[in-house]
């Protein structure tokens, strides 16, 4: 199968949807002139013109506010947040307008908007350009939150998000943009709200998403060599959360670990762990383990930055600790 980068996969998704539906348009800082800071909008302005690929002023409030207005008026905007870290500026537009409009208008209005938000640590991005803030948004009813881990899902989830009649937050890890992966030719629509078992195993369930799926799968290969077979679940969507896939895995493995780049406190892992404890207590044969960043701002120093990252060796060690206590 052909291999393309995550960045190109998202371009394809937008191109196909823009060809399919004239109401789809793109809006954000530097996306027409520059093609997006990660190249994820490259060539689209030339192809579709600057009416449908619009550069905006540097005002997150204006970008999202405009997007919500356009969506309410019947358009299907894809708006870009540049860095997820900037999402605090237009927060009212997101959680009071975008998320609430359909409910408050009794279903007479809908907000089919996709908000692309590049997140995560690269190297030396420091405290304001490295964050993973996805957990904030799983706390807001009225928004779907997707967070792909590979090029195929990037394309499939973005296409599904554009076709969704409800607003979708699309978190994409900055380190993934240049990652190549197999993407089938033609139309793919990855369902929103459905997790994916990325690797099967019987000894423990590891739930993750986004860039850290790479680390989890690397760790799983390492553990394989030592006869430990972990099942790896890629959540793909964190709101609505597909716990059924997690439960089904837990019935087999009886042990649960959640790994994410965001801080551990109050993270997606906390929600997954709590639901597993509520629904599956009788199937738990070991304490649930969450791996996430310590509760600190992301440091600029590469040495300190390493300390807040979860690398494959950290996952291997944590898995062995849980299993080791049982042998």
């Amino acid at each position: 199968m052909r291999k393309i980068t995550f960045s190109v996969a998202t371009q394809e998704a937008m191109r196909e949807e823009m060809q399919r539906d004239k109401n789809v348009f793109l809006m954000g800082e530097d996306i027409a002139r520059q093609g997006g800071i990660f190249g994820q909008f490259k060539g689209l302005a030339e192809e579709f013109g600057k009416e449908r690929v619009r550069d905006t002023p540097i005002s997150e409030t204006a970008i999202i506010g405009g997007g919500v207005g356009a969506a309410l008026a019947g358009m299907r905007p894809v708006v870009d947040m540049h860095f997820a870290d900037f999402i605090g500026v237009p927060m009212d537009e997101i959680f009071n307008q975008m998320a609430k409009a359909r409910y408050m208008f009794g279903g007479q209005a809908k907000v089919p908007l996709v908000l692309r938000a590049p997140d995560g640590m690269t190297r030396g991005g420091a405290a304001q350009h490295s964050q993973c803030v996805e957990a904030w948004f799983m706390h807001i009813p009225g928004i779907k939150v997707v967070i792909p881990s590979n090029p195929a899902d990037a394309k499939g989830l973005l296409k599904s998000a554009i076709r969704s009649d409800d607003p979708v937050l699309y978190f994409e890890h900055k380190k993934l943009f240049s990652v190549k992966g197999e993407v089938p030719e033609g139309e793919i629509l990855t369902p929103i709200g459905k997790a994916h078992v990325a690797r099967e195993g019987a000894d423990m369930t590891i739930v993750s998403y986004s860039f850290y799926m790479t680390n989890v799968l690397t760790a799983a290969k390492e553990l394989d060599k030592e006869g430990i077979h972990v099942e790896c679940i890629d959540l793909r969507t964190i709101s609505p959360l597909d716990m059924d896939t997690v439960y089904e895995s837990l019935r087999k493995t009886k042990k649960l670990m959640i790994v994410h780049e965001a801080v551990r406190q109050g993270g997606v892992g906390a929600e997954v762990a709590a639901r597993a404890a509520e629904e599956m207590i009788d199937y738990l044969d070991a304490p649930i383990v969450r791996l996430g960043a310590p509760f600190v701002p992301i440091p600029y120093s590469p040495v300190l930055e390493r300390l807040v990252k979860i690398e494959p060796e950290d996952i291997v060690k944590a898995v062995k600790e849980v299993l080791g206590n049982q042998r």
């Binding site: 009886k254 009788d282 199937y283 738990l284 044969d285 070991a286 304490p287 206590n325 049982q326 042998r327």
Partner: protein, 440 residues
């Protein structure tokens, strides 16, 4: 439900601790906050307190046992409560029963048998529930002896053998297959012993002797314990293992006193100890070798300079550590020394504040001491003894003048610090203290 008493983690670096002394007996009534058991690490001794009211149902970890952090030490519960797996009547030494104990003391001991609460994972409980299995019959192999799913599964496979946990342990110790033991009901410890041809009484007699608390206490004897025990061990170890050499230098403190006077005039106070810490750190920066430690076959080149400061407190001595002391200014050192000394007196130092030292300073000047030979604090390689400052007649530029003089003694581990290095260290220290502006 009985609550577990576990090995506390006294600071980040502690991985295991030793049970030095139980301060309560099995069956004693305890109140929240009561001192239960004394724990020792190589750095510190500490008391584990009761977190709830109840009865000390069972002591699991015996005195002298070294156990990892969070390991099970014992159980606290309500009088008469059963804790199952960890305890059985058979495990209680006969001496405990024959003592004329109050009724309350005996009550839990008698009732602890089969059928109590067992630490188990939720999944293990479900398996046991579904299979109609008594969890007390299952030996836990999980975290802290927890029964996990596979234990229940194993137990079901060997379902014909019903055995008490104590009996299972004795059987394992004696190398007997429980399946070979013939008995009408559940296999108890006595059945195992009988099967092994050992009279139960003979075995029971052994712990009676070793566990007897009435051993010989010398006249006027006080048990070596707590801080004194740690001091005795560490200084004994330091003295026995380290070939010590001591260098003494006499230092003219005129300039140091003048500098201190200027600071005081500006309402900023520091002590001579603070200044000597500053000077010693500077010296160690220049002669890193004196900041090394010896660890078996390796010389550790400590990247940090962490200065221990000996503090006398009621009943002994304690050495809190100023981390990265060389990076601190004089006023920061003054503030830190004050803080650590206060915490030392209030017994609130954390183990982390007591560990990681790479060199130590001990000041006996306030006791009028003119010379002493301090013992290095292993694994450090050097210690600086500071004596009193006293006015003496000294010759300076062919003139006899009166000057405040102070002796400083460097004690060092001659295995890794050579005499020449130590000589450089002490002479540089003198240079700094006689010309404190060089410390800027």
């Amino acid at each position: 439900m009985a609550a577990e008493i576990t090995m506390p983690q006294l600071g980040l670096t502690m991985t295991e601790g030793t049970v030095s002394q139980w301060l309560k007996h099995e069956g004693d009534i305890v109140k929240k906050g009561d001192e239960l058991v004394e724990i020792e690490t190589d750095k510190i001794s500490n008391i584990v307190e009761a977190h709830e009211d109840g009865v000390l149902l069972k002591i699991v970890a015996q005195e002298g046992e070294s156990l990892p952090v969070k390991a099970l030490l014992g159980y606290i519960g309500q009088p008469g409560e059963q804790i199952g797996a960890a305890a059985s009547a058979a495990a209680v030494p006969d001496s405990a029963k024959s003592m004329a104990a109050p009724a309350l003391r005996e009550a839990p001991v008698q009732k602890i048998a089969a059928g109590g609460w067992v630490p188990a994972t939720p999944y293990a409980r479900k398996l046991a529930r579904d299979g109609g299995l008594d969890l007390t019959l299952v030996t836990g192999t999980g975290y802290n002896g927890r029964v996990i799913g596979s234990d229940v599964a194993d137990c079901k496979t060997a379902a014909t053998v019903r055995i008490s946990p104590t009996a299972a342990k004795v059987a394992a110790d004696l190398g007997i297959d429980p399946a070979a033991i013939q008995t009408a009901g559940r296999i108890m410890k006595a059945d195992v012993l009988q099967s092994a041809g050992i009279a139960a009484a003979a075995v029971a007699a052994v712990p009676q002797v070793t566990a007897s608390p009435v051993s010989v206490v010398p006249a006027h004897g006080e048990k070596l314990k707590g801080m004194r025990k740690v001091i005795a061990q560490r200084l004994g170890e330091g003295w026995r293992n380290t070939p010590h050499v001591h260098h003494t230098v006499e230092i003219n403190m005129t300039e140091a006193a003048a500098l201190r006077g200027k600071f005081i005039a500006m309402d900023r106070k520091f002590s001579f100890t603070d200044l000597i810490i500053k000077a010693m750190c500077k010296v160690l920066e220049e002669y890193r070798n004196a900041n090394d430690s010896l660890d078996g076959a390796y010389i550790i080149h400590n990247p940090e300079i962490n200065m221990g400061v000996a503090v006398a407190i009621d009943g002994g001595l304690i050495v809190p550590v100023i981390k990265n002391a060389n990076q601190l200014g004089l006023m920061d050192i003054h503030q830190k020394v004050g803080e650590l000394a206060r915490k030392a007196r209030e017994h609130t130092l954390s183990p982390d504040e007591l560990s990681g030292g790479t060199c130590t300073i001990s000041n006996l000047g306030m006791y009028g001491c003119d010379h002493f030979t301090p013992i290095v604090n292993p694994p450090e390689a050097a210690i600086l003894g500071v004596c009193r400052t006293v006015e003496k007649a000294v010759v300076i530029d062919h003139q006899i003048v009166i000057a405040p003089m102070m002796n400083a003694v460097l004690g060092y581990d001659h295995r890794i610090i050579d005499g020449a290095t130590a000589g450089l260290v002490t002479s540089r220290l003198r240079e700094y203290l006689e010309n404190p502006l060089l410390l800027l």
